[in-house]
């Protein structure tokens, strides 16, 4: 019942929020829901580790959680919890400023749990078709969140998001159907083949190679769009910058990785089927391209949240490259990186949200500088998270990036590693250049000193604290889980 309850809790919370009356109760429901999901997620992770990496299944293999899924569940629940915590202070202030209406407020609290449910379903569904449906569900629930403010720009962003995302999903569906078709007639009897990933994986070598190649191309472009890989990433900065900050955090923190997860499932299947590096090389290529493309955009960026979005593009690219290299260390590093990035990015978006609520703009030039003076708490947390996201110690992204590089070097992907490093440095330079000028400086005296709610500070410092904790102390069980997940990705269950 574990998997079912992980799905049900946020779903029920979302439905309840439709009807719950005082606003406080809605907020409480969300937080409570995500806390319990987190508890369930931890339980799942423990179960999987205790199972020695064997998958937990429910409903006759309809729901299935192996180490990879369990890891993703953990990420989703942590980010959702942080988001729901942050949203309290954020929307209270927005309501006070009349930036959102009561209706939009409720819309957020209903859609966010549904969004989370969709993501949980993506990672827990065994059936590839259901997985697709769930991804589409996350897209649809998040579109309205992106358009929540109903500004011109947010509508534009939402439109681009839904059109490009929808297009990507159609392509992904095409690929999914091809995958399904590749299995027909290969199991002997002319019966309905199973659409379950685990079953397909088991018979992977017998799948039709041509179809699988085509399927992976469509899936790559399709889910790649959703995961924000360049050159299909164009919706990403728009959506991330226009969504309310809690939603941006969800989008960047986990939503991208969920699409990537779907992609990875197909990658595992394709590699097992073709036995060649076809999908690996595609991942590598798209990943590198994404990483390289992020640099120029960050260098000339004018908008804080867009800059963060491009940084996400870079990190997703890095994860892809790491998986594409396919060395034990790089895949391990990629998973580690997913986790660390999921803990870091929301904090950055939360901080950007605070900045926006204070100054009503995200334009670097209009913001000027001197955030350390005008908003010391936000500036501190933003600075720390920026240090983390730039891959500097003492935060974990340094470790994961270095792990990936070491893996790349030892598996004779020296050139790729050098490009990775160059891209990382380029992005670092851009981010530093922008944030140093934003954070430092004499400050603008005409704004009132920042008022920051406790929940806000907690929501921002909790992920950072967790990040720091897991940097210096990675429990054995977590490591085991990641190693098992890495083995799954590398096709060695």
């Amino acid at each position: 019942m574990l998997l079912t309850s992980i799905l049900c809790v946020p779903f029920v919370v979302g439905l309840l929020c439709l009807f719950a009356r005082p606003r406080g109760r809605v907020e409480f429901l969300n937080i409570a829901g995500f806390v319990s999901v987190l508890v369930l997620g931890v339980k799942l992770f423990k179960t999987v580790v205790a199972n020695n990496g064997n998958a937990v299944t429910e409903w006759g293999e309809f729901l299935r959680a192996d180490a990879l899924s369990a890891w993703m569940v953990l990420l989703i629940s942590v980010v959702s919890l942080a988001t729901s915590l942050y949203a309290v202070g954020y929307f209270r202030r927005d309501l006070a400023d009349a930036a959102v209406t009561e209706r939009r407020f409720r819309e957020f609290y209903v859609l966010t749990p549904l969004f989370a449910t969709g993501m949980f379903l993506v990672v827990l569904a065994n059936n590839l078709g259901v997985m697709w449906i769930a991804v589409e569900g996350t897209a649809l629930s998040s579109v309205l969140l992106v358009a929540l403010y109903n500004r011109k720009t947010s509508l534009e962003a939402a439109w681009k998001y839904v059109m490009l995302g929808g297009l990507g999903l159609v392509l992904a569906l095409f690929g999914t159907i091809f995958t399904y078709a590749a299995a027909i007639g290969k199991t002997g009897a002319e019966t309905m083949p199973s659409f379950n990933w685990s079953r397909l994986c088991g018979m992977a070598p017998q799948l039709d190679h041509h179809l699988m190649t085509l399927a992976f191309i469509f899936v790559m472009v399709g889910y790649g769009t959703k995961a924000g890989l360049a050159p299909m990433h164009t919706w990403l900065p728009d959506a991330h910058s226009e969504a309310p900050s809690p939603t941006s955090a969800m989008l960047s923190g986990v939503s991208l990785k969920i699409a990537l997860y779907a992609l990875l499932r197909f990658h595992i299947l394709t590699t097992a089927c073709l036995g060649s590096g076809f999908s690996r090389n595609l991942l590598l290529g798209f990943g590198l391209f994404s990483m390289l493309l992020a640099g120029p955009f960050i260098l000339l960026q004018k908008n804080l949240k867009r800059m963060l979005a491009y940084s996400s593009l870079e990190h997703v690219g890095l994860i892809c490259v790491a998986v594409g290299i396919n060395a034990p260390l790089t895949v391990f590093g990629a998973l580690l990186h997913m986790g660390y990035h999921a803990l870091t990015k929301p904090v950055l978006f939360f901080a950007a949200g605070n900045v926006h609520q204070q100054f009503h703009t995200l334009d670097f030039r209009r913001l000027g500088g001197g955030l350390v003076r005008t908003m010391p708490v936000t500036a501190l947390l933003l600075g720390l998270a920026a240090v983390a996201v730039s891959g500097l110690p003492p935060f974990g992204l340094f470790v994961s990036e270095l792990t990936i590089l070491v893996g790349g070097f030892t598996s004779h992907h020296v050139g790729v590693s050098v490009v990775i490093l160059a891209a990382l440095i380029a992005v670092f330079c851009g981010v530093l250049n922008k944030l140093a000028r934003l954070l430092l400086g004499p400050g603008n005296g005409q704004y009132p000193r920042e008022t920051i709610s406790v929940s806000n500070v907690v929501a921002m410092s909790l992920p950072l604290g967790t990040l720091l904790l897991f940097t210096v102390w990675l429990p054995d069980s977590v490591r085991q889980l990641m190693e098992q997940a890495a083995n799954i990705i590398r096709g060695m269950p």
Partner: protein
Amino acid sequence: MNLQPATLLVASLCGYGIGAVAGLLFMRRERLANALSFGVASLSALSGLLAALLFLSSGAGTPAPQFELLPSLIPSIKFTVRLDGLGAFFLLIVSMLGFALSIYSLGYAKGYFGRKNVGALGAFFNALLLATTLMFVADNIWLFLITWELMALTAYCLVSFEHEQPETRDAGVLYFIMSHIDAGCILLGFLLLYQASGDYSFASLHDIGAQMSPGKRDAAFLLFLLGFGIKAGIVPFHIWLPVAHPVAPSNVSALMSGVIIKTGIYGLTRVCFDFLGTPPLWWGVTVLTVGTISAVLGVLYALMEHDLKRLLAYHSIENIGIILMGLGAALIFLHTGHPLLATLGLIAGMYHTINHASFKGLLFLGAGAVLHATHTRNMEEMGGLVKRMPQTAFFFLVGAVAISALPPLNGFVSEWLTYQALLQGFGTTESLIRLIFPLSGAMLALTGALAAACFVKAFGITFLAQPRSEHARHAHEVAPSMRFGMAVLTVACVLLGLFPTAFIRLLDPLTQQLTGQQLSAQVSLADGLVLASLTEKAGTVSTLGIVLMFVCLLPIPFGLWLVFAQNSKTRRGLTWACGQPGLTPQMEYTATGFSKPIRMIFKALFRPRRDVQREYDFSPHFAKKLRFESHVEEVFVRRIYRPLRILILLVSRRIRALQAGSIHAYLLYIFVTLLLLLLFAL
């Protein structure tokens, strides 16, 4: 109590940690934060100093203490610390400077009270010392890289401390970008080494170069040279240095110039002498050439400065060049199979490293004191400070004499050793390449003479003559703690200058570790009074002897006074001003004027831009107002960095145009991607 170096080292590291935390905790109570963080830092530095001295003086045979600082929590990351000869030597440098600076800071930070967050300053200061100290004793790639990055991060925070000034923010950004690039290069270099060794510990990397293919070994060397070179500020990667060092608080400038850029030297020494094995000839030649160019250009650009701290920063480039000359010579000798000479070169480089730390630290502290007193870094607004802050002036003068490589102070000793290494190198090989030795020696001479010229300017314009501004007129002597900090380094300069043989004995563990030789016995003559270069025949010098000579000869002038000048009187009078009454400060020579001959001689390099504006009253012959501006822009900025920056921005702008907001274009990208992939799969 039996004190072990390891215990003292741990105490020192913990101390810095406590100092950092204390600074943060008591942020709101700045006096307490100041006293606690810098007080604890000075004690920690003292402990580190003791640890280094204990280890270094225990002789070359002592096994290096090695221990785990923290249990390993993430697989493959080990916090192994090992205090070997090289590490201990640099620990000595950082602790010596750390001690002096911490005490100095107690007074210096008072200038920030009520204005800036002194607690944060103390915290970052401690953190920087912690990271640097740990970096010097790291025995593992991971720990090294982590501390390396932390060092860059904390140094960035300190450079940007006075971030209200736009130039400070820009400088910080430039500094951090360059440090990140150097970290990237170093990382790649280490990855290449790791590829060959398969282990992260430094022990496993020892002589790993022998197992690498020549191509990879050369690549690793170049990467390290680039990475550590950027950190050390070699030309042409030095552009961050004269920008970043001056804008930091002066105690931090001193630390950056004294220690942080030395981390590059540390890394290069560690890598070249410990890891990469017997070097090919061109490594040494490259290092020597780079060093020579850095030295000459560094001092030339220093001469053009009239910002006191920028001037000092350029001198750091010069001195790094001199250090590299010693190291480069040593690398050549390693190649030609002359370990003794290599050791001499290494000693010259190391000696100059600690010397530079002491006198450059001292000079920056002096500059800080001047800044504290006059609130300006512009030399043209100073003058006459020798009467208003006599002790600071004295300390600064000692530093100036030392950095100009004048006997009997420490700068002279290390440059003497460098000369000796270079001269003896001539005989080590028959190939034409040996001409490089005397030629770099000549350039070293040029450097030394230009440095002397520069410090005549720096000291003369800043401290002597009449005050050139109201600020300078109202200057006052600085707090006792600041003077004490300077005094510590002054004493270090004098001791290092007068007792070179004793100090070289401390270098025995280092040379034993890196080249397998110990020179302390060979270079010491007459019970250590005289320093010889390997043999007595090749050349000797005794700074202490020179001082003794001075003392012995001093009776001559005094005897003359007694005999002839008993009745002569001394009185104060006006300075000759061509008979005009009223000598004004405007008549004094300025810093810009002082360096004009040099500027004119090296016009081709400097390309000075002059801007003269005259305002006339009634006759074109009598100008009412005259405004003169002269700018010198660095050739590398002009020719490389600015075009590069423009190019990057241009390319970025082009790329950015791909994403101009049209959803149709976006769809097209996906479409084309899909089609390409489909065609590819056909």
